[in-house]
């Protein structure tokens, strides 16, 4: 039996238990999907208080809509979709943008002047840079647009496929790939800029 079928069976068993009134089964669903939900909320919403409220809101929606879940995707993907839409509504209400203009294209000035620069020119530099990397990277990821941050996280930290990310964000798979490409490119360029600024 493959993993997808196994997941569907587990999902189905859990959903049926919740619908029969077992709150412990719902607790299991929350624990199973909490990581994904937290990642999406933390990447799309900056305010801590709002994150807390949104997380609770997401799971109450999941509970209310559970009888309508048709098992066409994994339960976690469906929960991720509800989380993403809830965050999207939040951003709309707060009039915040999903993709910042600065992120939509490459940094032109940087690209023309330093087209041939690299993050490190030798192994020692690479070693030093790798040590500082997580701090710089964390900061630079935080500076990305909410959508880019989310896509990067879903693909590289949650190990979701393009198709699963497309289901969660309700974007075409090609668009997901394109945005991911741009996000990585912007991130690489910003890292170069940060590194070169620090070095000089």
């Amino acid at each position: 039996m493959n993993n997808t079928t196994e997941n569907t069976f587990t999902d189905q068993a859990l959903v049926n238990k919740v619908l029969r009134g077992h709150t412990n089964a719902f607790k299991a669903i929350v624990k199973h999907t909490e990581g994904l939900v937290t990642q999406i909320i933390f990447k799309m919403v900056a305010n801590n208080e709002d994150r807390r409220d949104l997380a609770q809101d997401v799971y109450l929606k999941v509970y209310q809509k559970l009888s309508g879940f048709k098992f066409k995707s994994k339960l976690s993907t469906w929960v991720g979709q509800i989380t993403y839409n809830t965050c999207l509504n939040y951003l709309e209400k707060k009039k915040l943008v999903l993709i910042d203009e600065h992120d939509s294209g490459a940094n032109k000035q940087f690209e023309t002047s330093k087209n041939n620069t690299h993050l490190f020119s030798n192994e020692t530099e690479k070693l030093v840079f790798t040590k500082e990397l997580s701090q710089i990277l964390k900061k630079e990821i935080d500076n990305l647009s909410p959508l880019y941050k989310t896509l990067i996280t879903l693909y590289h930290n949650e190990d979701l496929s393009y198709s699963e990310i497309a289901q969660i964000t309700e974007l075409p798979e090609g668009t997901v790939k394109n945005y991911l490409f741009r996000a990585r490119k912007v991130l690489r360029e910003r890292l170069q800029l940060t590194y070169k600024t620090q070095a000089s």
Partner: protein
């Protein structure tokens, strides 16, 4: 090998989906130091992202959510109570009507044939059952719509 450098998109494709990458791109990256460095940078970038600490809430989300869930057992109990109340009201009403219109009913019974009485009782019972069933079904649908479907 092509002499022109490959694009950023091709380098990313080489790293993340090498099987979909054109052979000339793979060959170029393998032989061009500049593009190889770019590819290495993307690798470092991705390794860095993968090693980042996962965010977490500073409270037990599962416990907090479960506390706020509506209690399904209470709802079921409320459903049963609602049905009992309806049944009690209907029975009381019928019993009161039968008691107060006892004489009229007896006179009517004398005058009506047993076949007609049977027919009337069956018809009233059938309509009553049908109306009650329909009412209950509507009530269930409304409860379902209000609580489970947005």
């Amino acid at each position: 090998m092509i002499n022109e450098h490959v694009t950023d998109m091709e380098i990313q494709l080489f790293i993340f989906e090498e099987e979909k990458c054109a052979i000339h791109v793979v060959e170029h990256i393998k032989h061009c130091p500049q593009c190889a460095i770019k590819a290495a940078e993307y690798n470092v970038l991705v390794e860095g992202i993968e090693q980042l600490e996962k965010p977490a809430f500073d409270f037990a989300l599962a416990d907090l959510v479960v506390e706020q869930l509506p209690q399904p057992q209470l709802r079921a109990r409320f459903d049963s109570l609602f049905l009992y109340i309806i049944a009690f009201v209907v029975i009381s009403f019928v019993a009161t009507a039968l008691y107060f219109f006892k004489d009229t009913r007896l006179n009517l019974a004398w005058k009506t044939s047993p076949a007609s009485t049977g027919l009337i009782i069956t018809t009233v019972a059938c309509i009553g059952i049908f109306l009650l069933a329909d009412l209950f079904r509507k009530y269930q649908r409304q409860m379902h719509a209000a609580n489970f479907i947005e």
